[in-house]
Amino acid sequence: MDCYTANWNPLGDSAFYRKYELYSMDWDLKEELRDCLVAAAPYGGPIALLRNPWRKEKPASVRPVLDIYSASGMPLASLPWKSGPVVSLGWSAEEELLCVQEDGVVLVYGLHGDFRRHFSMGNEVLQNRVLDARIFHTEFGSGVAILTGAHRFTLSANVGDLKLRRMPEVPGLQSAPSCWTTLCQDRVAHVLLAVGPDLYLLDHAACSTVTPPGLAPGVSSFLQMAVSFTYRHLALFTDTGYIWMGTASLKEKLCEFNCNIRAPPKQMVWCSRPRSKEKAVVVAWEKRLMVVGDAPESIQFVLDEDSYLVPELDGVRIFSRSTHEFLHEVPVASEEIFKIASMAPGALLLEAQKEYEKESQKADEYLREIQELGQLTQAVQQCIEAAGHEHRPDMQKSLLRAASFGKCFLDRFPPDGFVRMCQDLRVLNAIRDYHIGIPLTYSQYKQLTIQVLLDRLVLRRLYPLAIQICEYLRLPEVQGVSRILAHWACYKVQQKDVSDEDVARAINQKLGDTPGVSYSDIAARAYGCGRTELAIKLLEYEPRSGEQVPLLLKMKRSKLALSKAIESGDTDLVFTVLLHLKNELNRGDFFMTLRNQPMALSLYRQRIEGRVAALQTAADAFYKAKNEFAAKATEDQMRLLRLQRRLEDELGGQFLDLSLHDTVTTLILGGHNKRAEQLARDFRIPDKRLWWLKLTALAALEDWEELEKFSKSKKSPIGYLPFVEICMKQHNKYEAKKYASRVGPEQKVKALLLVGDVAQAADVAIERRNEAELSLVLSHCTGATDGVTADKIQRARAQAQKK
């Protein structure tokens, strides 16, 4: 165990700092880090390198390349940079890469190098160019602060909801500040800048001069300043090699240190953890790394390679061409347990467990010792906590084993802490894996929460791992598995090389009917990618029509939408589609569509009630105007409308908007004679009209049998000549002749002529001695065939004249 604390470096009396390797990087960097613009996201996030940035001495002919790596150096994306010169890179809280260009345009890229959007930092920035830029994180999100060529600051506290703020001018500022940073106090972002020996604080109203309390004299310029991860502390590095550390409000000084190095440091970052006893700052020069705190001595490391510091919540990550290390203050629990000659209960418990494994009786001694002090519970908790802070799984295991061992001697020790730690460590080990490359510490993980972690995995398209984690942690499906599956599906539909059929099937197989998955969201995404067919296929799986229909309408599949809406049985939805259709289609097509959808039709019809109400108003008005006739007619119309709707419902077919006459005709044509008669009675259709109507309708149907029955039902009020006429119109001479015989004597001649029986017509005419009829018959006589008849008539005429 003695080797374990070998990498512990004491700082002052109370704190140890240790540095251990996270990954050995095998990224294939062609150039030195110092030649690149570097941005690494906190919380073990990805690293972006923009090689070949715009250096004046370098030829601009080579196109710069933007590379994105995971924290373990796995390449995620690489793309040639085609836009303008970039001043600064930075990662937003959503792990989007913000590239600030010289002209103030900020380009936003995704983790995989996909371009998301861009925005501008305003005209003023455009005119004066960007001198320097910082991306900073606040509780509202990620902000961008820009120092322009005119030495003015413009900042936006949240790039998601872009509101540009131009900071006030610093009086008498002639040259660029030697260093500057953004502070976040009381939820407002400020800018702190150093010009010569003076410090200025800019908030959005004013510019004020500030002096750090207890600053050593003789400072002529500040070379570097650093704000802690939580914006609570501030460190200033002066040209005298003096470091001042205090609160960010500049009201209190914590400590100071003189390192006697006057060269400006390359980077300076805070290295502290929440509730830490010690505040320390890590300062990096080309070859030297120094940890400085409230102690006369500092810890010094030699840097073999060009390195880059990434401040984290509880430490500093340091990566270079070959390694990726983590430097942090040793957590209390670990310190207690592993400190040389520690008598802390945790240390004893760990020792006891080791002895126990060696089957030594010393185990009992140690245990007894702890129990005598009554510190066993504390010991177990210490071991559990220390396990969390260990990076190496074997150490985690041995600590957990010790905890588990100690637990056996305790009554009623709540197990959840232990279980949760086991789970958390498993998750952490999984994501720290080289292939995944998210080196989160336990505290960072707790701060980040599992939900965010899952999002980040999804963002890295590590769907299987994310799902496994969800299942392992038994997260509710809606938050966990199905959410990830939905994300996966959204990604899947963007794969253009797979056929619609396959994608839809694959998605359905995976998703099944997992609760919380919205197929319509996936379909919307597919539609967004221009894959309408796929979207429709996917919508087939969507159980909620309410989600299905609007999207179908958006995709202009109105007819499909209509049938879906009808299937859903949701009237409101059907109406939505109907109104949409009505606007979209012309009237004819609209009704044709409705015809195939009886349910929609009947719904559409319900709107009749509105018409009836309007008619009622009209009728009332007519009554007031004493126009009884019109009022009555209006009431009839109301009755008719209602009746027509009922008919449509019961019999199908179209009745609405027909006149009364046409309604009855349609009924007869449809074979609903009973109803037709009922209607005729209800509306007091006169006999004559009814007879005409029935006659025409039945003839049109060619229902001669029924027609004959009807003709015999009673004496025809219109005579029988119309029967003959109509039959002849339908070219049924046989039927016509039947009725011709029943025509009254006045019209007999006409009827006979109609059926073409000229001879008999002549006979009747002669019998009736009617001059007009005689000539009528004569005009029908055609030369050859009716010669005899013609003669007969002539003779009859002559006779009549004689008399």
Partner: protein
């Protein structure tokens, strides 16, 4: 057989001048907007525009040659010497309709009737452009005149400043040598139903234009409220600008203004002269008709211009339909004979024949076959509708016998759903000839009609009632009976007063009395020989002399309204008949036989034929000016609230 005017009949003035005037004015207006532009034309203005200026004229430069154009069809724009500055390049032509406009031109020109609907259309277009951040030039040309209401709409829509407005005072379109039309079919509904008097000014302007072009009218007569108002307005216009017409020799001796509502009966009757029948059957639109495939006996329809230039048509247009067939077959025989002349010709004669006559013969042949086709088609349609029965009923109504039978015929007509417009027409005819329907019939017919064609027609009936076309006798209305009894008891003068009092109770048509007074129903012994017409009644198969034409005849005979007081009283127009004019003694006698008849609210081809006949008999020439050509169907459709 055809109409041949007496040798001493006066020459008609040359109306093609009106066309040239309108065309030049339009071109001038288009040139006000230099450069390429898209022209939007309202559908109603398309045919009239087509008659005066062909598309190629609009698209190309102004014609430099002042050729005499008989019709728009013969307009051939010359592409030769046109100065670039005088171009009025119309790039594309669009119809004004409710569709999105896809014009890409920077200048838009609208040629529209002054209607609110059109203003909204333009406003939408301009506002859409504004939204899209597009700036174009807009020009609205109102024809025949601009109305304040239209400008107000433009103002309301906030685009008044964006468009420039102009007027194209194109109100007189010569459809034929003796026929001018204002092409304002909406005049009838606007004035006689809605009581909207906005077109009266247009009429006055048109009359003013005529008098400046063709000299003052020495004699002026008129009947009807609208006629009177138009006349007064016109007089005012003349007075404002007097001096111009002074000293000009009048070319047209008489002008007669007549309101359509003086005589609805004639307009409601089925027409039986050829031109009227063609109008009733195929609808003559702006002097031309579309003959469908059933007429042309090919698979295409053909647009045919019907006017005096069509030699065949010119000879049969005024004939009773029963004569037309005979005439056409005679003509066909003649034609054949002329073709046959070829035989036995020597080479020289043949050459002559081919170069001079053959083309004419071919043309005549084509027209002949067309009109024969039209006749056959008319015959077929009319037989199907039992036209004979219909005519018989009409005549019965006009003569006033067996009203009961007619009523039941109409009832049957409605019951059988023959045709909504026809039924309506018969009901109106019944109402007017009978001083309104008796309440029982009124109700039952109306109920029947509503049952047949839907309750929307309640509004139609209300319209007809307002216009006085279809009325109900006031209950207990035996006024006529009482009136006649009273008038027997007192002196003539008192009787007139009493009748006035009665008639003021309800505006009624006293058709029967007028008919007797003016002898509208000619007494005939035996068959009326339609081949040799004796009077104007031939246009209705000898059964009825058109009331409007008879009134005109009577007034022209007397040169005043004297002696027609009784008729005026019966027409409810005692106050509305007037005479006027410039009583110019220097008027050449030639001009006194030229008469301009102005029909306000439309005239029918039957009336035109009747007056042409009258003119031929008396040695007059009639010139017709109408707001639009009408017929019974158009009249009824204007009243109908159910738009197809």
């Amino acid at each position: 057989m055809a109409f041949h005017h007496r040798p001493d009949a006066p020459e008609l003035p040359d109306f093609s001048m009106l066309k040239r005037l309108a065309r030049d004015q339009l071109i001038y207006l288009l040139e006000q907007l230099p450069g390429k532009k898209d022209l939007f034309i309202e559908a109603d203005l398309m045919s009239p525009l087509d008659r005066i200026a062909s598309v190629s004229i609009l698209k190309r430069g102004r014609e430099r040659h002042r050729e005499k154009h008989q019709s728009a069809a013969s307009c051939t724009p010359c592409t030769g010497d046109m100065p670039a500055s005088k171009q009025h390049e119309v790039d594309k032509l669009y119809k004004v309709e409710n569709k999105p406009v896809l014009s890409s031109s920077e200048q838009l020109c609208f040629l529209v009737r002054p209607r609110i609907k059109n203003m909204r259309y333009i406003a939408n277009l301009v506002n859409a452009d504004k939204l899209a951040g597009r700036t174009r030039k807009y020009k609205v040309i109102f024809s025949p005149q601009k109305f304040y209401a239209c400008e107000m709409v433009l103002e309301e829509e906030g685009i008044y400043g964006d468009v420039s407005c102009d007027e194209w005072a194109f109100s007189l379109l010569p459809l034929d040598v003796d026929l001018l039309s204002m092409e304002l079919p909406e005049f009838f509904r606007d004035y006689f139903l809605e009581g909207d008097q906005r077109w009266i000014n247009t009429v006055a302007q048109a009359l003013h234009l005529l008098s400046t072009l063709y000299g003052p009218f020495p004699n002026c007569y008129g009947i009807g409220r609208c006629a009177k108002m138009s006349h007064e307005l016109w007089r005012n216009l003349e007075e404002e600008e007097d001096g111009e017409t002074k000293g000009r020799k009048p070319e047209i001796g008489h002008i007669f203004l007549l309101d359509r509502d003086v005589d609805f009966v004639t307009a409601l009757c089925s027409q039986v002269v050829y031109e009227g029948l063609v109008d009733d059957t195929f609808r003559i639109k702006c002097g031309s008709v579309d003959f469908g495939p059933e007429v042309t006996s090919s698979d295409r329809s053909l647009k045919v211009l019907l006017n005096a230039d069509d030699k065949v048509f010119h000879e049969i247009r005024n004939e009773h339909f029963s004569n037309v067939f005979g005439f056409l077959s005679q003509k066909a025989r003649n034609l054949q004979a002329q073709y046959d002349r070829r035989r036995g010709m020597d080479i020289k004669q043949m050459k002559n024949f081919v170069s001079q006559e053959l083309k004419g013969l071919k043309q005549e042949h084509r027209l002949l076959s067309l009109h024969i086709g039209a006749c056959e088609s008319i015959m077929k349609k009319k037989t199907k509708q039992n036209f004979q029965e219909l005519i018989k009923t009409e005549h019965a109504l006009l003569e006033g016998f067996s009203i009961r039978d007619s009523t039941s015929y109409i009832e049957e007509h409605i019951d059988r759903q023959v045709s909504p417009i026809e039924s309506l027409r018969l009901m109106c005819l019944l109402s007017i000839t009978e001083n309104g329907l008796i309440p029982k019939d009124y109700r039952s017919l109306k109920t029947q009609y509503l049952q047949s064609y839907g309750s929307e027609h309640l509004l139609t009936f209300s319209n007809l009632r307002r216009a006085g076309l279809l009325t109900e006798q006031a209950p207990g209305d035996t006024l006529t009976a009482v009136e006649s009894k009273v008038s027997k008891l007192v002196t003539d003068k008192a009787a007139g007063k009493i009748t006035d009092a009665f008639s003021s109770l309800a505006k009624r048509s006293n058709f029967r009395a007028i008919s007797k007074k003016l002898n509208l129903i000619p007494r005939v012994d035996g068959e009326y020989d339609l081949k040799v017409p004796r009077d104007m009644a031939y246009v209705f198969s000898g059964a009825y002399v058109p009331l409007s034409c008879r009134v005109i005849e009577q007034v022209l005979e007397r040169r005043s309204w004297q002696g027609l007081e009784e008729v005026l009283r019966l027409l409810n127009c005692s106050e509305l008949a007037f005479t006027g004019g410039t009583k110019d003694d220097k008027a050449p006698s030639e001009s006194l036989r030229l008469i301009l008849v102005v029909f306000l609210g439309g005239c029918t081809f039957s009336e035109i034929s009747a007056l042409r006949f009258l003119g031929r008999e008396k040695g007059f020439r009639f010139i017709f000016l109408t707001t639009a050509i009408t017929n019974s169907a158009r009249l009824m459709e204007a009243m109908s609230e159910v738009k197809a």
